[in-house]
């Protein structure tokens, strides 16, 4: 038995140990949710990462030790499972010999992979992990994150509504999922902000991320006469919630749906029902930063699908990483890591600079769905239209 097993096992191992990154290319790796609940995010990120790499390669690659090397990105699917995400990052490091990594999406998946990268001392740049969810894990040494700060996101609708000077009864209902960021925004920040802005919280409820029915909370909010409804949920739930608000005959004057209302599919799925919904965003093709319009245009041209802000942070994360490798001029982890830390550039999402906690904060704008399109309505400086009030 053993006589047969050992050679077979050896052969199997040899099979998938074969090609390792020789020094004639730069290998970077990424584990992304290409299937499962978050597959739509993964698709955007993949495009962003690959575009940045393609740009680097078409520019002739990156010079390392005086020799220009092409960049190869290896992407593995984590099936929206943190265990797989961690396993993928391990493989990328140990088998592909990836010199640096790009992150997955949502705190659970990003953090699982990031912890592996940190342990193996391989630099990683990621987006898609809000400030508190990222910095709360540990003091990072090799992992860098560029995304929004929950505090900014939470306050944006308050500011937008206040500055627009619209009249509401200042009664607010809060519905949020209990994911890490939902918990922070809906569970902590919104109640605090409501107090600060003098609004009265009449309903505050949380639900599991993959919950599908919200009739009780919505009925509660309706019967409490809340004019303002603040929701934090991912897209499938956001769509369900919007429909259930309508079927309950509830008509809040202000409707904010963070996270879920952002991608174009929200509008596609809901049609006219999306109109009036406010959502915070860290990027919009109309942002006054270099290449914003072109990036979105390129996405829509190549995929024939509506885009999302996730193409921007992933594109920028890859850009930052590639620039750092170039700046380091080396494939060593330490030089790349310190070069990432020195990043100071204005890219397609705005100025990117990492703080001591390895976080680069992206500014937030408030956008509103109007006639099937998103329009920036706050801050005034960036606004492309007026706040639609009340929600039709």
């Amino acid at each position: 038995m053993l006589r047969r097993t050992v050679p077979t096992a050896a052969l199997l191992f040899a099979l998938f140990t074969a090609p390792v990154g020789l020094a004639d290319e730069i290998v970077i790796g990424a584990s992304l949710p290409l299937s499962g609940a978050l597959a739509s995010f993964g698709a955007f990120q993949r495009w962003g990462y690959e575009r940045a790499v393609a740009e680097a390669n078409s520019a002739g690659g990156i010079a390392i030790g005086g020799k220009r090397l092409p960049v190869r990105i290896v992407i593995r699917d984590d099936k929206t499972d943190a265990n797989v995400s961690a396993g993928n990052v391990e493989t990328l490091i140990s088998r592909e010999k990836a010199v640096a990594l790009l992150g997955s999406c949502t705190p659970a998946l990003v953090n699982a992979g990031a912890l592996v990268a940190e342990r193996h001392r391989v630099p990683m740049v990621t987006g898609c992990d809000p400030r508190r969810a990222f910095t709360g894990v540990r003091q990072w040494k090799y992992v860098w994150d560029l995304f929004f700060d929950e505090a900014d996101l939470a306050e944006a609708p308050f500011k937008a509504i206040t500055e627009a000077g619209v009249a509401t009864n200042k009664r607010v209902a809060i519905l949020h999922d209990n994911g890490p960021d939902g918990q922070v925004v809906g569970g902590q920040l919104w109640p605090e902000l409501a107090k600060k802005y003098g609004w009265e919280v009449v309903v505050s409820a949380s639900f599991p991320v993959d919950n599908s029915q919200f009739t009780s909370i919505i009925a509660d909010a309706k019967s409490n006469g809340a004019d303002i409804l603040l929701v934090d949920a991912i897209t499938p739930q956001a769509v369900s919630i919007r429909k259930q608000i309508a079927t309950a005959g509830y008509r809040p004057k202000v409707l904010v749906i963070e996270k879920g209302a952002e991608p174009a599919q929200f509008g596609t799925a809901l049609g006219a029902l999306a109109d009036g919904v406010l959502v915070g965003g860290y990027w919009d093709p109309s942002s006054p930063y270099p290449g914003a319009k072109e990036l979105m245009a390129a996405y829509e041209r190549e995929t024939r699908q509506p885009g999302s802000q996730h193409i921007a942070d992933s594109y920028v994360a890859a850009k930052v990483l590639l620039a750092a490798i170039a700046a380091a001029g080396s494939l060593g982890a330490e030089p790349i890591d310190s070069a990432i830390g020195k990043t100071d550039a204005t890219l397609v999402v705005g100025p990117v600079r990492f703080d001591a906690q390895h976080f680069a904060r992206l500014p937030i704008v408030s956008v509103q769905w109007q006639k099937g399109k998103t329009v920036v309505v706050w801050p005034a400086a960036a606004a492309g239209g007026k706040l639609l009030f009340p929600v039709p």
């Binding site: 998938f16 992304l32 699917d77 499972d81 265990n83 918990q183």
Partner: protein, 325 residues
């Protein structure tokens, strides 16, 4: 390993049993020594294989030996993971003891659920375990005390790769010890009697509830310990991953692909599942579909699993040779 067992999973002779035990010790030693001759990558794959194998062996202990087909592996895995991280963060207990506590927690979970679940037979039991696992996941998602949907982080650095591998090897050793007991001791006839016909067994004085409970508890303990080892490696856990249906499906598909009730089934199945998942992950566009197709084809053409298929081919070849000579 398979050679010394009859098809019914029982060592035929004491000598056979000793040989088997010897073979298993050699295999364990080989695993423990792996970091010496394998690189990081192979060691990682071996670790995944070991954790998967422990789950598969434990699942096989339930389904193959006592007929308890469970879709609730994830409940024990998740519990073990949470207990391990919680204890490491909030107590000064040494790691070894923490793993034991995690295993005990798994057994306690089984013992708590048993009065209800064990009343169910066949399909009902399967569906009941699935419901239990989902209920536990939902509780953990909502339980802010245990980190809610965000989960828990390990405060300290996890052990290095080679240490993790040794821990997993130790766990596999414990698993095989349990299985040797189930195979070789007088207990084994009781197990098989309960699997064959529970009512008749009861009429012969077999306290089938206790027998099933013992198996359920032992399997859950092993699964919980495996969950603990997995959590130790991750350093960060959250309910969707730790209590995910994937664990249940993995354990089940490993055993089915390898061969249900076949002694070598879990080993072969775990190897095939872990290696194919790893190979296919390089083709993110196709790997899921391929996994599905592989499963369908396996079910269709190798109903007794790969081990059964191999045995059939082997038997046919011997027959052919016999005819020829």
């Amino acid at each position: 390993m398979a050679a010394t067992f009859t098809e019914h999973g029982r060592a035929t002779t004491r000598r056979g049993l000793l040989l088997t035990a010897g073979g298993l010790v050699v295999a364990l030693a080989a695993c423990a020594a792996a970091p010496l001759y394998f690189g990081d990558y192979e060691t990682q794959i071996l670790f995944r294989f070991l954790v998967g194998l422990v789950l598969a062996e434990a699942w096989n202990l339930m389904a193959g030996y006592t007929g308890l087909v469970s879709l609730g592996t994830s409940s024990a895995v998740g519990l073990g993971g949470y207990v391990l991280i919680g204890l490491l963060n909030h107590s000064a207990l040494p790691l070894g003891l923490v793993l034991v506590v995690a295993a005990v927690a798994g057994a306690v979970l089984a013992a708590t659920a048993a009065p209800g679940l064990m009343r169910l037979r066949g399909l009902y039991f399967t569906v009941g375990t699935l419901a239990l696992a989902e209920a536990l996941r939902l509780v953990m998602i909502n339980a802010e005390r245990f980190g809610g949907a965000s989960g828990l982080f390990l405060d300290r650095e996890p052990p290095v790769q080679s240490e993790l591998l040794w821990i997993a090897t130790g766990l596999l050793a414990a698993t095989w010890l349990v299985l040797l007991l189930a195979d070789g001791s007088r207990l084994s006839v009781l197990l098989r009697a309960v699997r064959d016909d529970e009512d008749v067994a009861a009429q012969l004085g077999v306290r089938s509830y206790r027998v099933k409970l013992a198996v359920f508890a032992a399997a859950s303990a092993l699964m919980a310990a495996a969950g603990g080892v997995q959590a130790l490696k991750l350093g960060a856990i959250e309910p969707y991953g730790m209590f995910g249906l994937r664990w249940s499906i993995d354990a089940l598909s490993m055993v089915i692909i390898g061969g249900l009730g076949q002694r070598a089934g879990p080993v072969v199945g775990a190897a095939v599942v872990v290696i194919s998942a790893e190979l296919l992950a390089d083709y993110p566009e196709a790997h899921l579909a391929l996994t599905g197709v592989l499963l369908i084809v396996m079910m269709r053409f190798a109903p007794r699993g790969l081990v059964g298929l191999g045995a059939d081919i082997w038997a046919r070849r011997r027959l052919m040779r016999g005819v020829a000579s």
